[in-house]
């Protein structure tokens, strides 16, 4: 059942051949997905799906940097619809206003490897080992809730200039929430991981970590809101660095309306945030967290342009050795502001800390809070990048180097920019699953951080 009709590479070629526009771009993504979901030690919604998402971008040229663009997308797998979509994109382009990001399309640079190969696939059987391990957990005393998701998205990109790209991106996530004690007042903890294929995922180890954290909740302590020395584990750090990376956008900084605009004009590139040698990077070639190494977009935005389709995404150090180093921008924006193109990445790594694990940070803490995850993170003030959110599934009191009790949850108000300005210790970088943003962003590697004065704005009664 994985076949989606005409092979995707052929859809690209047929659409390009059918085009009557001056130039055209065709993107096809075949998506195969499988998911398991459970609650209270029982399966709830599970399933598999196969779908194709594709788009035709038609371009009529009035000059090298002047063009009109039409973009039409579809999920149809009926080959008769190829010409229909091409014509619709052309019609949209003919009647369009000139595009402000028009630049020449990229030239061909050789054939794409595996262009004619079948798309990557998946099915419910990918969870075989996981299901067996979960069954053991379901028979335990704790109540388990969670989700396992495997996606294999294969993308084909072709342009009328002869450029061809293909990439298969496997993405897997596993999250387990455990609850112990009475329904009305349970202890709650969370573990999660990302994986490309669910091979070798240590479910037993995750369940053991879940149990260790639930054990920490045997004693509970109430703490009021305030500023606390706080240890952020890698998942929480990822959930703070992702919105930071999303905000690192060049146009808004140059025009003065985002947090990277500098007083007096210009941007904050070159501003030192921390004396720690922290570097925030996107790198498609990272061996643990590889992602699609080229631009593939059917619509332009503040940071991406349809005219950049196929552009190779290079490694970018957004922050280098503690200093703001780059802001995302298309070729057109870079030309407008006299800068160089920087493609927003689909992975994010914060490096430059020590070799210390989160447990070692705990061991070196006299009194502070250890968090598990952050939740419902939203921007409060774009000028300072002030975010708000909650702690979730485990806030623990650390005293004299060990966890002594579970603490109530808090609402916090903090800016990731200011956290980098105040961080006093970073540990060892490790792959981690960002809990808040994992619907959109799963490939991160982060260190634990020590913040001397994390701002817990109020107490949350949530368990």
């Amino acid at each position: 059942m994985s076949a989606l009709g005409v092979p995707a590479g052929e859809v690209v070629e047929r659409a390009l051949a059918a085009s009557r526009a001056d130039e055209s771009i065709v993107l096809v993504t075949d998506a195969h997905e499988a998911s398991l979901r459970w609650a209270g030690n029982s399966m709830t919604t599970n399933g598999v799906s196969a779908s194709r998402h594709w788009a035709v971008v038609s371009i009529f040229r009035d000059g090298p940097t002047s063009a009109r663009v039409g973009s039409v997308g579809s999920t149809s797998v009926d080959q008769a619809d190829i010409e229909t979509v091409v014509r619709a994109a052309e019609e949209a382009a003919r009647t369009a206003e000139p595009a402000e990001d028009a630049v020449p399309l990229l030239a061909a640079d050789g054939p794409a490897p595996d262009w004619a190969a079948e798309p990557g696939s998946t099915g419910i059987d990918v969870f075989g080992e996981l299901a067996r391990a979960l069954a053991g957990g379901f028979d335990g005393a704790d109540r388990l809730y969670g989700f396992a998701h495997h996606r294999v998205h294969t993308t084909w990109l072709g342009t009328s200039t002869g450029l061809r790209r293909r990439y298969a991106q496997p993405t897997g996530t596993l999250e387990i929430n455990g609850k112990r004690g009475p329904d009305a007042d349970p202890a709650s903890a969370w573990v999660g991981t990302s994986t490309p294929d669910f091979v070798g995922v240590d479910v037993a180890g995750l369940l053991a970590e879940l149990s260790r954290r639930l054990d920490w909740s045997a004693k509970t302590v109430h703490l009021d809101a305030g500023r606390y020395e706080t240890l952020l584990p890698p998942s929480a750090v990822a959930d703070l660095m992702i919105p930071l990376a999303w905000a690192m956008e060049a146009r808004g900084a140059h025009e003065g309306h985002n947090a990277f605009a500098a007083p007096g004009g210009g941007t904050r590139i070159g501003e030192r945030l921390t004396e720690l040698p922290l570097t925030l990077t996107s790198d498609p070639a990272d061996p643990l967290l590889p992602h699609r190494p080229f631009v593939a977009t059917s619509a332009s935005s503040d940071t991406l342009s349809v005219f950049d389709n196929g552009l190779i995404a290079e490694r970018v150090d957004w922050v280098r050795d503690g200093v703001v180093n780059a802001l995302a921008q298309s070729r057109a924006t870079a030309a407008e502001f006299g800068s160089t193109v920087t493609v927003p990445g689909e992975n994010l790594l914060l490096t430059g800390g020590s070799t210390a694990s989160i447990d070692e940070l705990v061991a070196n803490t006299e009194r502070g809070l250890l968090l598990t995850t952050l939740w419902y993170i939203r921007e409060v003030d774009p000028a300072t990048l002030l975010l708000t959110g909650l702690t979730r599934d485990g806030v623990y009191l650390v005293e004299d180097g060990r966890v002594t009790a579970e603490v109530n949850n808090f609402r916090w108000n903090e800016s990731p920019l200011d956290l980098l300005r105040r961080v006093t210790e970073a540990g060892a970088t490790e792959p981690t699953l960002p809990r808040e943003w994992s619907d959109w962003f799963t490939r991160t590697a982060m260190p634990p951080l020590r913040i001397p004065d994390f701002h817990m704005s109020s107490v949350s009664l949530a368990k």
Binding site: S42, A261, A299, Y376, E379
Partner: protein, 517 residues
């Protein structure tokens, strides 16, 4: 087909489902899938064909940033085999694929039977053998030339940009047409079509010397209406007035003093309050959350079933309804994605929790004979789950109290208009919201804007501090296209109606102080 297309709430004839959608092999898919599932042992099976057409138009400073059209089409088969759910979907609309997908759904259910500890039982629903429902819109936005739509947004943007102090303007309109065909083994066959639009403009003022900026956007809510809402031809939203006033409001806000933090009496406009209702009531009264189905992701609820009929949610003047029938509501349907007819019911009455939002699997668990119709999936490739109805706060039934009268009752407080930032905890206790405009109230009258405001409270404390609700003339429908829930993540559009309200002693924060500045 039985001709059940009825008149709109305004007396017009409803439009019909597009012939293009009806021309799909809907009946053949249903026959192939349902007969296969039944033969394979399914006690229940349903087939859903889902087509979502969208167009997004985005302008930056009057120039087109992007125009993107997309159509998402596929079908899904959902089965119950030996008390366990199975689901599968595909993009190819052929009977051969329907047969294979039905078998695959049964295989999923069979494979996971051993891990299912709660047997699925579905509440019965009358059979609707061949019905059609279309939402209330006049002009299909997909029948309007794109160039005409871009020109209208450019004209709106030009008016804002022409004003002193406005340095940048963004404009956008998202348009959606959603069509579904549902058929099940009980014999129900439903075809539906809904249209919704979300126009928005935002003005930005920049002081590059100081390195500060401020924004203000239009408050026209997304609505289950057609293009007539964007042009203003239906008279629902006064675009001329709002676009003329935003630059002045923005200029005043940019130089306004910061708010003084602390407990504050608030008069909250419906343009802000809808989102507070969404987060603190809408999600809290979802039954799947209340029994833990979303524990690992979207969260649970403090309003658990053991408190039904006793939980004091707010003051006795508080009445909140769930409904899938509100004219122009974003969650309004004829039938939900399990073939249950749209209904309206109480969630909170006299300030007490009295109801939940349900689907056919959850209704029996709560001891109810019938679902209230809250099942929805945002795509053919996603499993239908319990999603939010239009959840609305009723106005004062006795007296048409105006917003100005509410303001007149406040000696020292704030009047909050428009939504912006929002966040609430995973049990729907602790929330924090900001807004677009904050007016000081002094001795019962507005006294200029302040800035950097957020309000923060625990849900039952907030609603327990509600002293008054405005009358019917203050009631407005707000809403959002992007309510998220479930894994894999699904989005749903939902509306919330409410009057202006007066709440006493709510904790107000200064967001600059919160940022340590």
């Amino acid at each position: 087909m039985i001709g059940v297309s009825t008149a709109t709430s305004e007396g017009r004839a409803r439009r019909a489902v597009d012939a293009e959608f009806r021309a799909l092999p809907l009946g053949a898919l249903a026959e192939a899938a349902l007969s296969t599932a039944r033969a394979a042992g399914a006690a229940h099976a349903d087939l859903r064909v889902h087509r979502l057409r969208t167009q997004s138009i985005r302008l930056r400073d009057g120039r087109v940033e992007s125009v993107a059209d997309h159509t998402d089409l596929g079908f899904a088969v959902r089965v119950v085999v030996d008390g366990t759910w199975g689901f599968a979907s595909h993009a190819a609309l052929t009977p051969q694929h329907a047969v294979a997908v039905a078998r695959q759904a049964v295989e999923v259910a069979t494979a996971l039977r051993a891990l299912n500890r709660e047997r699925v039982e579905l509440a019965p629903e009358p059979r609707y053998p061949d019905v059609e429902w279309v939402s209330e819109y006049v002009i299909d936005p997909f029948e309007v030339p794109t160039a005409q739509k871009v020109a209208l947004l450019q004209e709106y943007a030009r008016r804002l940009a022409a004003a002193d102090g406005v340095d940048h303007v963004t404009a956008s309109v998202l348009q959606v047409k959603e069509q579904t065909y549902y058929a099940d083994t009980a014999g129900t066959v439903i075809t539906q079509q809904r249209v919704r639009v979300h126009p928005e403009l935002k003005a930005v003022t920049v002081d590059s010397t100081a390195g500060v900026f401020e924004t203000m956007r239009t408050l026209a809510p997304p609505a289950g209406r057609g293009w007539e809402y964007v042009t203003g031809a239906d008279g629902v939203w006064d675009w001329d007035d709002e676009l003329a006033r935003i630059p002045g409001w923005l200029a005043e806000k940019a130089v306004a003093p910061g708010v003084e933090a602390g407990p504050t009496d608030l008069v909250i406009d419906p343009t802000n309050l809808w989102l507070t209702i969404h987060e603190s009531i809408g999600h809290a009264t979802e039954y799947d959350r209340a029994i833990g189905y979303e524990s690992a992701y979207a969260g649970t609820s403090f309003a658990t079933p053991d408190k039904l009929g006793t939980l004091r949610y707010g003051t006795p003047i508080m009445r909140v309804t769930g409904d899938r029938t509100e004219p122009f509501g974003l969650a309004t349907v004829g039938y939900d994605d399990e073939g249950v007819a749209g209904q309206r019911w109480d969630l909170i009455r006299d300030g007490v929790l009295v109801g939940y939002q349900l689907d056919r699997a959850f209704a029996p668990r709560l001891g109810l004979a019938r679902s209230n119709g809250c099942s929805y999936a945002d795509s053919a490739h996603h499993v239908p789950i319990q999603r939010m109805a239009n959840v609305s706060l009723a106005p004062d039934p006795e007296r048409d109290t105006s917003t100005e009268e509410l303001i007149s009752r406040v000696e020292n407080g704030l009047y909050i208009v428009g939504d912006k930032s929002w966040s609430i905890d995973m049990q729907r206790y602790n929330f924090q919201f900001t807004g677009q405009r904050f007016f000081r109230i002094r001795d019962g009258e507005l006294a200029g804007q302040v800035r950097d405001v957020a309000y923060q409270a625990t849900t039952t404390d907030f609603w327990g501090a509600m002293e008054a609700v405005g009358g019917p003339s203050t009631w407005r429908l707000g809403g959002a296209f992007n309510c998220g829930k479930a894994q894999p993540g699904q989005v749903a559009a939902v509306s919330h109606g409410c009057p202006s309200i007066l709440v006493r002693g709510i904790n107000v924060l200064n967001t600059r102080t919160e940022a340590g500045r």
